[in-house]
């Protein structure tokens, strides 16, 4: 560990209400940032326009007023360098949260994310820790077009040294972000831009367990594994399926690294059937990884697993009917589940 001492930053008053409250996904993120920064003076937020008018997605409202422009730090447009800056800050005792406005810009910061954050501690022989959180906004369905609809979360699952979380609900958005900020290793936390307005229960103070998936609905006929936007579509599919007499279990993946294989496996061992619902291309994604791991692990499939994914060979288009067609729908997920159970 570094011999550097604790920073001499000024604390701000404690955050508002504890207990479970109903919040939007957007406000859950705001609360997680606010609570983390209140509890720990070493935490700061940086990125493009993070402190301007609540940030581009309005997740940061009020933060610059309460924490000031040093801790809510607007940056120039230069993702690679400002992720590197966050790394450097973490090495002298701070705990930066970096906002990357669209997941499509992660490749712009490619070197810092791939070669620096996950490997820095290792290359030093464990001399340092790198408590950097990257908040990134991903996903389609908003007609943002080919260069603004990416997820790419599975890429980072390929990298030892990283943790990768995905938030499907306000509760997860809060607790995952708090977990990331409290964690001593670099974590990428995905938010989905179509979910900001969703409401749900949030427990202030809750810190998610690293690497734990969440069973959101139980059922014995088929397991549906999903992340982010696909979670609510899977839950909707499960409703339809229930009407057909099919009991679907819905699991929110939550962590792409590490993947919670025990929870997923336990479910699939009961149901014998699996549908992965992915807003990503299947090749190279977590869905393939899960199916591979379960198959290698000797799961006894009652029917072949299925996937509902983005097309193998078609980027996310702008045209609204085309975008609707290619992003997996509740109906598509339900159809895959029906086919898995042989209906």
């Amino acid at each position: 560990m570094s011999t550097l001492t604790e920073p001499a930053l000024v604390a701000v008053p404690a955050a508002g209400a504890a207990g479970t409250v109903e919040l939007t996904y957007r406000d859950a993120i705001n609360a997680a940032l606010r609570d983390s920064m209140t509890d720990d003076v070493r935490v700061l937020l940086m990125g493009e326009d993070v402190g301007a008018d609540g940030g581009v997605f309005k997740t940061n409202s009020g933060l610059i007023e309460d924490f000031g422009p040093a801790r809510i730090r607007n940056t120039p447009i230069c993702e690679n360098a400002f992720v590197g800056v966050a790394l450097g800050m973490s090495l002298v005792g701070l705990r930066p949260v970096v906002e990357i406005m669209f997941a499509d810009f992660l490749p712009t910061a490619g070197d810092a994310i791939v070669n620096q954050l996950p490997k820095y501690r290792f290359m030093s022989g464990g001399q340092c820790s790198v408590p950097v959180t990257i908040r990134v906004i991903g996903g389609g369905t908003g007609q943002f077009g080919t260069q603004h609809s990416a997820t790419y979360e599975s890429w980072f699952g390929h990298l030892p040294g990283l943790r990768v979380a995905t938030a499907a609900t306000p509760g997860s958005a809060y607790s995952l972000l708090r977990a990331a900020i409290a964690h001593d290793n670099p974590v990428i936390v995905y938010e989905h831009k179509a979910l900001y307005g969703r409401k749900g229960p949030v427990t202030r103070g809750e810190v998610a367990e690293i690497g734990k998936a969440q069973v959101l609905r139980t059922g014995s006929d088929v397991t549906i594994l999903a992340s982010m936007l696909m979670v609510e579509r899977s839950l909707a599919a499960a409703e339809t399926l229930a009407a057909d007499g099919i009991a679907a279990e819905v699991i929110d993946l939550r962590w792409v690294r590490p993947i919670d294989l025990p929870t997923i496996r336990a479910s699939v061992e009961r149901t014998g059937r699996l549908v992965v619902a992915e807003e990503q291309v299947h090749a190279g994604g977590w869905g393939a990884t899960v199916i591979s791991e379960l198959t290698m692990g000797g799961v006894a499939w009652r029917s072949a697993p299925r996937r509902v994914s983005l097309p193998d060979d078609y980027p996310v288009p702008y045209s609204p009917p085309l975008e609707t067609l290619i992003v997996p729908s509740a109906a598509g997920i339900a159809a895959a589940a029906r086919s898995a159970v042989g209906l």
Partner: protein
């Protein structure tokens, strides 16, 4: 050649084109607000002189890259407003068959080889085209339009260095509208407000230009283009201008100091050229009114036809992914 003074016809056509861009953008704003178009959009009202004056310096075979805020360049390069509307509506008759959208108005047949949604990405691409011209010994030039916010990203630096090193026929044009998203330049950009200075360390000429004065824009870009065409290498031009709207659809631009927008509107680029053309007897105030009405009618018709056009299918557009 563009180094000749632009004649009356040319400047009249500039005026029309600026009006077309303005009317197009205003209509887009309405269509977004009414929900007829989804997603997001980045409008360029106030910046028309930069687009039209610069594009006016291009010769056949020249190319340019621009950005998500590139409707002005696309229309200045001759994309039909109907084609542009259709693209923003995601229709099959759009410039990219509806799959590109607001951030990608592209027309290779007119030298518009890319509108990029990634800040900084267009500069190396324009440079590559320019180096290609150089290797092929074609007498062509590439322009690259980008914003003031884009000068702080790595590709700006990397592209300018290579351009100067190879003396490539490329002209880099900063559309300095004072803001990158919600951030005023001074909060993101070191070295003071004069962005042309960023050319210095590469041994490249850098010139700041009044971006509201289309005659000044055209003269500066023409000089840089002819210099590049003649083997004199690249230039960096800073166009000082302003965007009347917020960054994108969802931005009310609350970060502007009071009075700033109004002050810039006093120097509206269309009005400036309009007054000149009237004074010089090239286009009377009355004729200008008629032109405005005609262009408004053109825009109305184009928007209507685009609205009526069909959406594309996955099948029709599947060949867009891979060549062959």
């Amino acid at each position: 050649m563009s180094l000749r003074e632009p004649d009356a016809d040319t400047r009249r056509s500039w005026f029309s084109t600026m009006l077309r861009i303005r009317a197009f953008e205003d209509r887009i704003q309405e269509l977004f607000m009414s929900g007829a178009i989804g997603g997001t959009t980045h409008l360029c009202q106030g910046q028309e002189a930069v687009s039209v004056g610069s594009i006016g310096s291009m010769e056949p075979g020249d190319v340019q890259t621009n950005t998500y805020r590139g409707h002005g360049e696309a229309l200045a390069l001759g994309m039909a407003s109907e084609t542009a509307f259709a693209e923003l509506m995601g229709k099959a008759t759009g410039g990219s068959g509806g799959v590109g959208g607001s951030m990608h108005l592209i027309d290779f047949s007119k030298g518009n080889i890319g509108a990029n949604a990634i800040v900084g990405a267009g500069m190396p691409i324009a440079l590559g085209a320019a180096v290609g011209f150089q290797m092929q010994q074609r007498p062509n030039v590439a322009l690259s339009f980008f914003g003031d916010g884009a000068i702080n990203i790595g590709t700006f630096h990397e592209a300018l260095n290579m351009a100067s090193l190879w003396q490539a026929p490329v002209v880099f044009i900063i559309t300095n509208n004072l803001y990158g998203e919600y951030s005023p330049i001074s909060s993101t950009t070191s070295g003071g407000p004069d962005l042309a200075r960023r050319a210095d360390p590469y041994g490249m000429p850098g010139v700041s230009v009044d971006g509201q004065d289309i005659d000044a824009v055209h003269a500066a870009v023409s000089a840089a283009v002819e210099r590049a065409r003649g083997g004199g290498g690249p230039s960096l031009l800073e166009m000082k201008t302003y965007r009347y709207r917020g960054h994108s659809r969802s931005d009310p631009a609350r970060y502007r100091p009071a009075g700033e927008l109004e002050a810039w509107k006093e120097r509206d680029p269309i009005d400036i050229l309009g007054r000149r053309l009237a004074v010089e007897g090239i286009l009377s105030a009355e004729a200008q009114l008629g032109l405005r009405a005609a262009i408004q009618a053109e825009i109305d018709g184009a928007a209507e036809r685009a609205t009526a056009a069909p959406y594309p299918t996955l099948e029709e557009t599947s060949s867009y992914v891979y060549a062959d």
